[in-house]
Symmetry: C2
Subunit: 164 residues, 2 copies
DNA sequence: GGGCAATTGTTGTCGTCAACAACAATCTTT
DNA sequence: AAAGATTGTTGTTGACGACAACAATTGCCC
C-alpha cells in the first residue's frame, strides 16, 4: 500500500514560499506513518533520553549499564564474549571497560587458560553500585510504563523478546 | 521485581579465567531482560541495518528518506518546520539538505514572505526518485513483517503511534 | 517609528556510536 | 614447526545528537 501511495501526486498546499501553518503543526508524514522503523526510532530516542535522565546522577549510560549487568550476572566472561552477547564491537568495549575500570566498578583479570583474554569481574564497589543502578533502572522502566501503558509495555517486550 | 533481583548474589560459574562456554552462548542477561529500552535498541539496530541494506543500491539512509518523504508530502516547508517535525536539529538538517540538493533531489527556494527562510521542494528528479525509494522502503517493511510477524508489526505500530 | 528580542539558516565544536582496518600476542590446526 | 585463527588494542571514518555562536531578517513593544 505504501508503494501505491508513491504514485499519488503531492498536494501542493502552501507551495508558495515558506509554510505559514498557524501553529498546530499539521504537517503530514505521508508514507512515514506506517513505517515501523520510524516509530521505533522515535521511541528509542525517547527511552534513551529518559534512561540518561533517570540515571543521570550516577552518570551511567545505557550501554554501560548493559555491560555491568552482563558481567554481574556472568562473572569471568571474556571481552569477546561480552561484546558478542551485547552486540557491540570489541573495539568499542575496550573504551567502555577502560572507563568502568577507572571508576573501580570492573576488574580485568588476566586469564591463565588463555593468556590473550581477560576475565571480567565486578569489584565489590561495582556490585553495590550495580544494585543501586538497577533500582534507578527500575524507576526508568516505570516511566516507560507510564508513557505507553502497562500492558502495551508488556506486549512490546513479548514482541521483541527475540532480539534480546 | 527488577529491584529485588539486584539483591540476588551472582552465581559464580566459570569464575576462574575466561569463560569456556562450549559454543552455544547461554549467557544470562539477568536484569536486562525485562528492560524495554534494551529490546527496543536491539530491534532498532536490526531494522536500521535492514533499511540501509535494502536501500543500499540507491544510497539512501533512513534520515534522508524521512526528509524526502516529508518534503514530498508538504512542499514549501521551511527547514525549521521540517527539522521540528522530524525531531532533528536544524543544524544537522543543513548538511542533509546540502547532500540532497547536490544530488538534485531537493531545491532550496528563497522565500519572498520571510527572506530568512527557504521553501523546500522536490525536483522532478527527486519526485521520481522518491517513488522508487518508497518501493524499496515497502520491501524493507515486508522484511520487518517477516521477522516479527504481520500482526505483531501492526500491534507495534499501534503502540508506538504516539511517537510519530 | 525606532530599537530590541526572537527566529532562521549556517558554521563550528564536542561526545557518542557503528563499522573497519591493522597490529602484536597468543592459541589452534595441520 | 609453520600457517591460520582469535583476542585485545589502537586508530580512522562517517552518521548522529547536543550546543554555542553568528549574520540576516522579522516581529514586538514602547
Amino acid at each position: 500500500m505504501t508503494a501505491t501511495a508513491a504514485r499519488t501526486p503531492p498536494r501542493k498546499r502552501a507551495s508558495n514560499g515558506a509554510a505559514r501553518r498557524s501553529e498546530a503543526d499539521e504537517i503530514g508524514l505521508d508514507a512515514l506513518v506506517g513505517h515501523a522503523g520510524y516509530a521505533v526510532r522515535r521511541f528509542q530516542i525517547w527511552i534513551f533520553q529518559d534512561f540518561v535522565r533517570t540515571l543521570g546522577d550516577v552518570e551511567i549510560r545505557p550501554t554501560q549499564y548493559s555491560v555491568l549487568t552482563v558481567i554481574g550476572a556472568n562473572p569471568g566472561l571474556s571481552q569477546m564474549a561480552v561484546a558478542k552477547r551485547l552486540g557491540i564491537e570489541r573495539a568499542r568495549l575496550v573504551h567502555l571497560l577502560d572507563s568502568l575500570e577507572q571508576r573501580k566498578y570492573v576488574k580485568r583479570i588476566k586469564s591463565k587458560e588463555d593468556r590473550r583474554s581477560h576475565a571480567l569481574h565486578l569489584t565489590a564497589q561495582g556490585e553495590t553500585a550495580l544494585a543501586k543502578f538497577k533500582g534507578l533502572a527500575a524507576e526508568h522502566e516505570r516511566n516507560v510504563e507510564a508513557k505507553i501503558g502497562k500492558e502495551n509495555r508488556e506486549q512490546l517486550l513479548r514482541i521483541l523478546a527475540g532480539f534480546t
